[in-house]
Symmetry: C2
């Protein structure tokens, strides 16, 4: 029987196990930690993730999408909170389109269930990867409970072991001509759990992603199933007027929230007491190449870890599965050919999702608080409503389509310049109000046949 | 007694031991390899290095420059070999200025002698670094002969363990917010030893750096003390008309040299037989930050490994010693203050020497074969001769001055644009020939008071 090893029982590793089982592989997953499903979920990183159409596609391909739907909360738009607590709402896309809030732990547990049930995978816990023989398909592990060392050999190995991948660090980084780059951005983050009301109801509107955009930094909140919100403050570590190194005492925390996020403070006046519940964490972009060597391939964060601002890290990892699966069929499981095609095709997408993620931090922390930006989004939505086959806004290309990230990035930048130039020439605000905007849009199509600069 | 550990008995580590001893430190050097002085020098990398004024300054500060002079061969200019074997000569600077060819093994042995004799350092060989406790100044080593493990603890530790630094890899790379980037260029290199004539004389002019510039690739030759030359072919690994992956058989090697480097082939018709004597190697730029943590500091290649095209890698490493030494005095050996100032001051210089090195590959492999470029260099030399306090060509700033690399890079780019614009407006070639160029130079000074664009 064909055999495969997956390093890491995270989101991508667990999903990929289902695919491989479907193709007839006997799958072994080695996982450094204890079984997450038996651990106290509240410990560790509770960060929420936004699931969008690329992730759903990967689930549908192996028929596990219904399982995930039960734990996903749709967010069809974002709600901005200004300094006075006034709210502005912006839909992410057209009617019926949404991204979905899922808890990392929740979806991970579900994926592990699926890997075992649908995939027949064996998950070995407490196995720390201590090295690898890339050419011979061997993963060397140490049982962290017994100290015993084991060799796990298989036909093919997938390292889905996250941003700080042990396979990449211990075996690939030392390869001749292996390019590697880990770069921390100057901002960090701290999570805050906003609990449900006593009756279990939500303290903020449930079906939306909340943002408190403050220019150089921001607070966001995503809904959890139990009525709570996972909130995250993103801010520079230091060297700025508002920075983590300036907020240390209980009094400083309270003063900061009272003055900068007053409506949030009203919901959570005990913020000073819970500030230290979650650690201050850092954010990095990790790039490398090649992604494959011998019988090994990197997938997900191990290949292209990104900052979280586009909500695409998990989706890009799941898309790696979709693409690898298609290439397995195309090349009839000739793994050297599959791996070569996989890294050639996916490397530009990993780079693009990272570039898009960095760009979207500006959007979220700053632009969404700007009426001009919101007007532009409204105008773009209207163009798409009238000519859906000729125009798709950047956010929709990334979150609601399967267009390559790299193409979305290029066409999005191009569209942005074009839309801005149209808005300079026309009073789009009045035209949106009096309805004459449609005439302008039709006129542009008649004259140019397309939207954009090319 | 104050104690210091240096990881790596290479060029920078050995020199730095002399400095630390002078300041009263008991110095222990841990070295992974055997004593280089007792090994067969012809094995391993025989690559030559070009020593220039920054290196000499570091030697002079601790009075060891005379020791090095005895093994250094001056090269006051470069000699270009074209396809027909015609030679062109370009002086590097003014009368009396030169860079110096030294063999890596030769200078390293000498530096180790000096570290022991002048520095009273203890060198522990066959000690592989297996980890470090950065905050407590502990280096964990394993004796590769006995398997014994040791802890070496001291007041302060310097990792001068090269481009693939074990300290950086095993201890620093995993630090939160440690930026790290290893990037291979698409070219590799292979060395060729051109032996002396039977009577020990040189087969090429001794006191010059020979270059066979061929546009996308090049061959260079540096003189050794024994009458031989260390030659290096730099070329793309693959994906180009001329690339290492196209030269495999003896016939292909001979054909390549016969057609591309005919005068070299005439000197070495057995090239096909010795082609495999030295391995095909890769070239990388390695950047990281911070360079210090706790009681540890990275120096030399461990902090800023570069490609070899400006001949500044070793010199930049020696300059790290000069700067660290000055900061030790300034901050009275308050190491946290010294380390903070050291990395703030040197990081931009490490980046600049890398940028300059990448740029100089174009100069060496391509521009030096272009008469227009050589005319520009001649013109710049003349400006410097007339106004040495107002103009210094980029190459001279880098190789014959102590101007910061970062400043040299900026002013060099600026000067280059300015000189090119002057050459567009004037027939500098004729003016150099008939001597009227001096009038133009004086006129520019009178009108503008300076050379350059600012």
């Amino acid at each position: 029987m064909k055999s495969a090893t997956i390093v890491g029982a995270g989101l991508v590793g667990s999903l990929w196990a289902v695919y491989l089982s479907k193709a007839g592989y006997k799958v072994t997953i080695v996982e450094m930690r204890d079984d997450l499903r038996e651990a106290d979920i509240s410990a560790g990183k509770s960060i929420n993730l936004a699931l969008s159409v690329r992730g759903w596609k990967a689930f549908k391909t192996v028929g596990v999408d219904k399982e995930i739907e039960s734990i996903a909360i749709p967010m069809p738009g974002r709600t901005m909170h200004d300094l006075e607590g006034n709210l502005t709402y912006q839909p992410y896309g057209q009617e019926g389109q949404a991204i979905y809030s899922v808890s990392r732990a929740g979806i991970n547990c579900k994926m592990m269930d699926i890997a075992e049930e649908y995939g027949g995978a064996t998950i070995l816990y407490n196995r720390k990867c201590i090295g690898a023989d890339l050419d011979n398909g061997i993963v060397y592990v140490e049982n962290t409970k017994t100290g015993e060392k084991e060799e796990i050999k298989s036909d093919v190995v997938f390292a889905a072991d996250g941003a700080f991948s042990a396979i990449r660090y211990k075996a690939m980084q030392k390869l001749d001509r292996f390019d590697y780059n880990q770069r921390y951005i100057e901002d960090g983050y701290r999570e805050i759990l906003l609990p449900a009301n006593e009756d279990g109801s939500y303290k903020l509107e449930k079906n939306t992603l909340h943002i408190w955009p403050r220019g150089r930094f921001m607070l966001i909140a995503l809904p959890n199933e139990d009525g709570s919100f996972t909130c995250t403050l993103f801010m520079p570590h230091e060297n700025h007027e508002y920075a983590f190194d300036k907020i240390n005492t209980k009094e400083e925390v309270e003063h900061f929230f009272k003055t900068i996020f007053p409506d949030f403070y009203d919901l959570m006046p005990n913020i000073g007491d819970v500030w230290e519940d979650h650690p201050l964490s850092s954010l990095a972009i990790i790039r490398c190449y090649p992604w494959t060597h011998g019988k090994f391939a990197l997938m997900g964060d191990a290949a292209h870890a990104t900052v979280p601002f586009y909500g695409q890290g998990m989706n890009a990892g799941f898309e790696d599965c979709t693409v690898m699966w298609e290439l397995m069929q195309k090349h009839k499981e000739d793994w050297p050919a599959v791996f070569e095609a996989y890294q050639k095709e996916r490397k530009p997408e990993g780079d693009a999702v990272q570039d898009l993620s960095l760009h979207n931090y500006f959007v979220m922390r700053d632009y969404v608080g700007d009426p001009e930006f919101l007007l532009q989004k409204k105008f773009e939505r209207r163009i798409e409503q009238l000519y859906p086959d000729k125009y798709m806004p950047l956010y929709s290309q990334v979150s609601f389509s399967h267009i390559k990230y790299s193409e979305a990035h290029t066409s999005g930048m191009n569209q942005d310049k074009w839309v801005k130039s149209v808005m300079e020439q026309h009073d789009v605000e009045s035209m949106m109000e009096d309805g004459s905007i449609d005439k302008l849009i039709h006129q542009i199509v008649q004259e140019k046949g397309a939207f954009g600069r090319s």
